[in-house]
């Protein structure tokens, strides 16, 4: 597209943000009373909903039960109205399955599964509006939902995407920036220890630039952590006041 400048000379992106700036994040825990844990997050225009059930007995075949830890089962679904063009299949297609596996890998690293042997934890994520950074929004929403359910976790899991344009690393890409075709990286981080739960990139990036992009994503994830930390603390604070002494 002619004239689509992802990064202007003054250092502004298309939506007016700076290179390392995140979009506005709003989150809420405990949105559904029926589920064990639930959360809703908005990152800019990307909206995701996460619901957690568990830990409970293994559904279906008992043979899948792991004798020493819990099974984490993740399902990713994006609503038919979430993208610009109406999607035909909300779930069951390749991308959804892959996302489900990635989420599973991420949360198996963070949830203390050894505390619940022979049980199953279900995490269902639904994207209501996709404006870039859907994996990150899903991970962030799922983290809040798992905490809402009271399932023990090592730490928060905070995720963010990053890209690389004109020698500068951009954090938290929107759909327009993703569609422009540059390299993009998705990172899920455990902030307290700095350990990486998942790092995913599906593009070509020169190795000299990798560290810069990785650092931008890590810093953005830490910023997300600051925000989510506030949300959880406020939720706990309110609930503990209601319960009284």
């Amino acid at each position: 597209m002619a004239g689509l400048e992802l990064l202007s000379d003054q250092g502004y992106r298309i939506d007016g943000r700076r290179a390392g700036e995140l979009r506005k994040i709003q989150a809420r825990m405990g949105v559904f009373a029926q589920a064990d844990g639930s959360a809703y997050i908005e990152q800019g225009n990307t909206k995701a909903l996460a619901v957690v059930y568990g830990p409970h007995e293994i559904r279906g075949s008992r043979s899948r039960a792991l004798p020493d830890r819990a099974l984490v089962n993740c399902q990713y679904s994006s609503a038919t109205f979430s993208t610009g063009e109406r999607k035909r299949r909300p779930h069951g297609d390749r991308k959804s399955c892959e996302m489900g596996l990635q989420l599973r890998q991420t949360f198996e690293a963070a949830i203390l599964t050894k505390l619940h042997p022979r049980s199953q934890i279900d995490i269902y994520v639904q994207v209501l509006q996709a404006d870039g950074g859907t994996y990150a929004a899903c991970v962030n929403a799922a983290t809040l939902a798992v905490m809402d359910a009271g399932i023990p976790m090592r730490d928060f899991v905070c995720a963010c995407s990053a890209g690389f344009v004109d020698g500068t690393a951009l954090a938290d890409l929107s759909h327009v920036e993703e569609a422009a075709g540059g390299p993009q990286l998705a990172l899920a981080l455990l902030p307290a220890s700095g350990q990486i739960a998942l790092l995913e990139m599906d593009a070509r990036l020169h190795e000299d630039h990798l560290e810069q992009v990785l650092e931008a994503a890590a810093q953005a994830a830490r910023d997300v952590h600051t925000l989510l930390d506030q949300v959880v603390r406020q939720h706990v604070q309110e609930a503990s006041i209601l319960l009284g002494d």
């Binding site: 203390l112 042997p117 809402d148 009271g150 976790m153 090592r154 959880v232 609930a239 503990s240 209601l242």
Partner: protein
Amino acid sequence: MAMEMRLPKVRKPLSETLGRDSKKHLVVPGDTITTDTGFMRGHGTYMGEEKLIASVAGSVERVNKLICVKALKTRYNGEVGDIVVGRITERRRSAEDELAMRGFLQEGDLISAEVQAVFSDGAVSLHTRSLKYGKLGQGVLVQVSPSLVKRQKTHFHDLPCGASVILGNNGFIWIYPTPEHKDEDGGGFVANLEPVSLGDREVISRLRNCVVLLVTQRMMLYDTSILYCYEASLPHQIKDILKPEIMEEIVLETRQRLLEQEG
């Protein structure tokens, strides 16, 4: 059929109306609770790099040398001596079992029992070795979060309003009409399928709505709180109890009475 519709309204955070400040030490997963290695770690914590780190979001509780974090919502953890109410979903199919138990307990029955033992993987072993436990007849079941059921000496209560309640530690609350004849020697389960009187049914419905109200307002469930809530709800109709404005009124009165009783 009467229908009621409401427009969306911004909800005030409930804690504002109370105006209290929590004095507890609140943590989120990943927070360091203490670097002192002298403490024993309880539920909701784990050891990492010489530090005690929280694994759930909640308040820190310290009992002498034991530190644990009480999460807001938890799955029920069985402890020996707990009373539980549950529904039989599956049973072992062995010959002796067939002969002995099928006559009494079948799949789908609701029972009350006591926890006898807890296995290392979290499974619990139940027993009904007392006449007060066993199959449950007519009544209403309410499922709530286990963390809202207060631990007391007894969980079987006969409320003065005319119904009885069993507060299962696993979050299953059973409300039933008070049995008229309390045979000491007879005991056992007698299938009472007679229709329950309207008065009793109204008391039970009101109690059920009160329990749901207390749960939505995140208050602890025990016999006194349920009774006070029931009495505070008497001026209103049973079906109005769960409307937001009326809920606020009732819960405010209940909280006040509970505070007066404590102080």
